[in-house]
């Protein structure tokens, strides 16, 4: 009987702590909405159909994005900031070969820029050697994506692969929001 009581209390505590942690601050809510909107916009980008499965490539997502548990809170803000800036830069490139709706891409850029605008004020100005090195690893990942696009001469297939990778990026960002 006592064991059952203790178990019930323990379960209640567990649920209440998760329930408490589920209350997000306004930055998290805004980022979450923004990332969802961007992901939805990405899915709407339908251009010329082509079989591009052969062109898949592993861009080697850095561990800061894949395993954010080891990051501190300020570093997570930096990671998301860097990711959004680079996604922004990627979609500025020439996508004429894809036949994408330009208004959609403009919306995507505008929405991403809004998230950057939100994060800018929350960025901790203190820069450490570790944060610079982390920044470098993130930059290398996006450099690989942009280099791939350039090597493939911004072809339709190359953009499709990149579109998929950026969609993955937004799902990573949504995961990272929990660590803010």
């Amino acid at each position: 009987m006592i064991n059952r009581c203790i178990l019930q209390i323990a379960l209640l505590l567990c649920f209440s702590t998760t329930a408490l942690s589920m209350s997000y601050n306004s930055l998290q809510i805004q980022l979450w909405h923004g990332s969802l909107t961007c992901a939805k916009l990405l899915l709407q980008l339908n251009g010329t159909t082509e079989d591009c499965l052969n062109e898949r490539i592993n861009f080697k997502v850095p561990k800061e994005i894949k395993e954010p548990q080891q990051l501190q809170k300020e570093d997570t803000t930096l990671v998301i900031f860097e990711m959004l800036n680079n996604i922004f830069d990627i979609f500025r490139k020439n996508f004429s070969s894809t036949g994408w709706n330009e208004t959609l891409v403009e919306n995507l850029l505008g929405e991403t820029h809004l998230q950057i605008h939100h994060l800018k004020s929350k960025i901790n100005k203190k820069v450490t050697l570790e944060s610079i090195r982390m920044n470098l690893r993130l930059k290398s990942y996006y450099w690989r994506i942009m280099d791939y696009l350039e090597t493939k001469q911004y072809s339709n297939c190359a953009w499709k692969i990149v579109q998929l990778e950026i969609f993955r990026n937004f799902s990573f960002i949504i995961m990272l929001i929990d660590y803010l």
Binding site: S26, H33, S140
Partner: protein, 541 residues
């Protein structure tokens, strides 16, 4: 600096002539050394090379050796480094265009390869001063294509710009000083003090203007375009409802501007000429939605009062959190208190017990610029339960009751027993009789009146009439007199079954007598013996 790196080295022996140097490089994942272009067979002790076509984020290792004729020295391997981390930001290119009270600035970011990923991330810092009065310097942060306002017309201004990457802790080198003359003042000044307000489902754009009889037009631009050094002058679009307006304000629907960052500008026109554009105002649109009052539930528990608010319907995709406010007061008084919080569960712990409190709730939507509130919900009143202290008394009282009831029952039982003993004695003799009477048949007689056996006594008074008398069955000594002229006697028939007549009279009489003595109580009181032969006519008993 930027894309160009300079490698310097020292010669070990200065006097030897005809010595040249060559350098190779190797990237982190390569296995072979590649010749470094621009650093082959240099006679000098330094060479410059650039990183075009290379990944500047990757680690690079250099090696260098000296040559003379056909002989070469050993390779000297330079410590590996990451070009991006080592590079310094060079001076940006600047172009200026003067207006009457402003200068249009056009900055081209430094570097081609090195900063290719950070081109839109540079923060440009401008130092501007009047050429004549150098002391009045002003520093501003500008976009790559921006305007510097608040200048005087017909004055020479000079400025210098540098690019910074704060997140990399990099500060660039200042550009060369550029000077420009502002033009004469324009007849039509541009509108000033642009403000945006939200009303109903529209935005209201307001500005100030000194002169009358002019029409205005307003334009907007996507905010993100300002980040880029490319020309965006052709990307400005007309705001619907704000073309050729005569008033110093215009209204446009919120629907047309989803929640983003925009820039707005206004221009005045008097038919013949147009003014210059006003200052570009950054505008962060925040769509206003109707917020319905929340649904309020109040529950009382033993310790406190809990209130739960819920949205009456699913809200529109709001990018901002809702804050809930509950106001409460005692039903009797009118003094209100209020609690504001983001969670939907409210607890009111320190309320007076057994009092009626009334509650009403509303929701607030907090934005960057504008706050919206819903109306209040319906008032809900609840009475608080008894307080915790009286509750403990209650619990204590119950415990005392639980303990005292069996005790009381026990006491009452004891009393009843006493009463019973006093007023309604039990016919049963006490058990101490056992000590005195150990004879079994006597004991039987004494202790089991219910089993009183019928005794038959035969008294033969005379030969003529013989009556058998019987005692009524044992109900504790109930004697019944039979109408008989003879003596009524009770007794157990003797052990012999013989008819007493056969044995003679005296035997039976003595036995009966014994019985009479015992039956008529008086254990201590012997019955006066009836003399033999003296039995006269029936003695009623």
């Amino acid at each position: 600096m930027d894309d160009n790196f300079t490698l310097k080295w020292n010669r070990s022996n200065e006097s030897v002539p005809n010595v040249t140097f060559s350098a190779d490089y190797q990237m982190s994942e390569m296995n072979n050394w590649i010749q470094l272009p621009g650093c082959q067979y240099v006679a000098d002790t330094e060479c410059t090379f650039s990183f075009l076509k290379l990944n500047v984020l990757d680690e690079i290792t250099l090696r260098i050796r000296a040559e003379r004729g056909n002989s070469t020295s050993a390779w000297y391997i330079v410590d590996s480094f990451i070009p991006f981390l080592k590079a310094q930001i060079g001076p940006p290119e600047v172009h200026l265009e003067a207006e009457d009270k402003a200068v249009k600035i056009n900055i081209s970011p430094p570097g081609k390869q090195m900063w290719s990923m950070d081109r839109s991330r540079f923060i440009y810092s401008v130092v501007i001063w009047e050429n004549s009065a150098r002391t009045e310097e002003r520093t501003e942060t500008v976009y790559p294509r921006d305007m510097i306002y608040k200048l005087s017309p017909e004055t020479t201004y000079c400025l210098k710009v540098r690019a910074e990457l704060p997140l990399q802790k990099k500060v660039g080198v200042y550009s060369a000083v550029h000077c420009v003359n502002t033009t004469a003042e324009n007849k039509l000044p541009p509108p000033e003090n642009i403000e945006v307000d939200a009303a109903n489902q529209n935005y209201v754009l307001k500005w100030d203007y000194a002169f009358a009889n002019v029409t205005f037009q307003a334009q907007w631009l996507y905010g993100y375009l300002k980040q880029f050094p490319e020309d965006h002058s052709n990307k400005w679009k007309q705001i619907p409802g704000c073309v050729h307006v005569r008033t110093t304000q215009c209204v446009f629907p919120q629907r047309a501007f989803p929640d983003r960052v925009y820039f707005l500008r206004v221009q005045a026109s008097d038919g013949n000429s147009t003014s210059l554009w006003s200052e570009e105002k950054e505008f962060r649109s925040e769509a206003q939605t109707v917020i319905l009052p929340p649904v309020l539930n109040v529950k009382t528990t033993s310790h406190a009062l809990h209130a739960y608010v819920g949205a009456s319907r699913e809200p529109v995709d709001l990018h901002r959190p809702l804050i809930y406010e509950i106001r409460f007061w005692e039903n009797a008084s009118s003094a209100e208190s209020r609690i504001l919080q983001e969670q939907t569960d409210f607890t009111f712990p320190n309320l007076k017990p057994l009092t009626v409190y009334c509650f009403k709730a509303r929701a607030h939507l907090l934005g960057e610029k504008w706050n919206q509130s819903s109306d209040f919900s319906d008032v809900v009143c609840e009475k608080t339960k008894p307080g915790a202290t009286s509750r403990t008394w209650l619990v204590a009282g119950i415990c005392v009751l639980v303990v005292s009831v069996p005790v009381a029952v026990y006491i009452v039982k004891g009393l009843l027993r006493c009463l019973n003993y006093v007023f309604f004695p039990s016919p049963k003799p006490p058990s101490s009789i056992d000590e005195y009477f150990s004879e079994q048949p006597l004991k039987n007689l004494l202790l089991s009146p219910s089993e009183e056996r019928t005794e038959r006594c035969f008294i033969i008074e005379d030969v003529r009439s013989m009556t058998v008398l019987e005692e009524a069955k044992g109900t504790g000594g109930d004697l019944r007199a039979y109408h008989s002229p003879t003596l009524l006697l009770l007794g157990e028939p003797p052990a012999e079954t013989q008819h007493p007549l056969s044995r003679g009279l005296p035997t039976s009489v003595s036995l009966c007598r014994k019985r009479i003595a015992t039956v008529f109580g008086g254990i201590s009181r012997p019955f006066p013996a009836i003399a033999d032969g003296e039995a006269g006519p029936g003695v009623p008993l």
